[in-house]
Symmetry: C2
Subunit: 190 residues, 2 copies
């Protein structure tokens, strides 16, 4: 820990993270990562046995990143409704990248859903973090079907990401994020 090697490892993961998002996992080569980091392709095998292991490290990094972001939402307010709104605000600040490349979690899962089962369940881990967090908020709001609500909200955001990216329509994305906030504000038990 704290050695130069760990630093290189982190730089590989960071570059892979960006490339997997912008170009996709299968369309990202070791050469691409080498070009960005300046670390020669051959060195990668000192840190990772296979490309799959790089993906695994990227997913782990994203899990931590999302956990940190959700932690920030938690700290933003004691009211779960406000927390959900803070979460929606995160979407707003990523509008450009969503239109360009879709949702980092959703597009990775969609791509890997067509491949081997190991990568499939690994990529799902990021979704699970967000799902659990959302369910916690709905539970605090008093919903007894909190997990169902979490899935619905997750699906809603994924749909908006897919469509705004497919049509390259940032106006639609803006409108939909606003609709989402209105929906959160209108949430009532019944």
């Amino acid at each position: 820990m704290g050695t130069k090697g760990d630093n290189n490892r982190a730089r590989i993961v960071e570059a892979a993270d960006q490339l997997f998002y912008k170009r996709g996992y299968n369309q990202t080569s070791f050469s691409d990562i080498a070009d960005i980091t300046g670390i020669p392709r051959g060195n990668f095998y000192y840190y990772f046995k296979t490309k799959d292991e790089i993906l695994s490290a990227v997913v782990d990094a994203r899990v931590k990143q999302y956990q940190a972001a959700l932690n920030d939402c938690d700290k933003a307010s004691d009211d779960p409704r406000e927390r959900l709104l803070a979460f929606a605000d995160m979407l707003s600040s990523n509008e450009d990248t969503i239109v360009e490349s879709g949702c980092p979690i959703g597009t990775l899962c969609s791509e890997l859903a067509k491949g081997n089962g190991t990568l499939q369940s690994k990529s799902r881990e990021v979704f699970e973090v967000v799902r659990d967090w959302l369910a916690k908020q709905f539970a605090e709001l008093g919903f007894d079907d909190a997990d169902d609500r979490a899935m619905d909200m997750l699906a809603r955001m994924q749909g908006v990401s897919v469509i705004s990216s497919a049509f390259k329509d940032s106006a639609y994305l803006k409108r939909s994020i606003n609709d989402l906030k209105v929906w959160i504000n209108g949430l009532t038990l019944n």
Copy 2:
């Protein structure tokens, strides 16, 4: 027309269509298509100059396929609400494949959104057919924001596809399709 060559061409497109859906465009090789059709790889270049041209032909085929399916929905009823319900029923009959591989249109667009712009806009064509048809139904129902409604419904279905596929959760898919039908039945002008 009507020659053996056209038949082979159609068989290539059909096999590519299935493989692009089940494995993805980038993960489908000429060898894969050759294995299924029995047509040697080299022959493909008699019918298509590049792999991109195969994709183009696949998209054209899907456009026709969806147009035919939407035509069936049109014939099902004079009431646009019933037509939308008929459309939702199509989802029900594809539950298994959606959980396995997601939506054929959405996953292709998501994959190609990360590549070159030509394939990107080509893959969008299938979405445009469905979008226009949905907008027509909402317009007939009297909505003046018919295209916005079409985009919302498109997004809703995409979100459900992404999530049910990511979590391999067919129960969630069933519930969500039902929710969609309830939503269609409850549609009112305001």
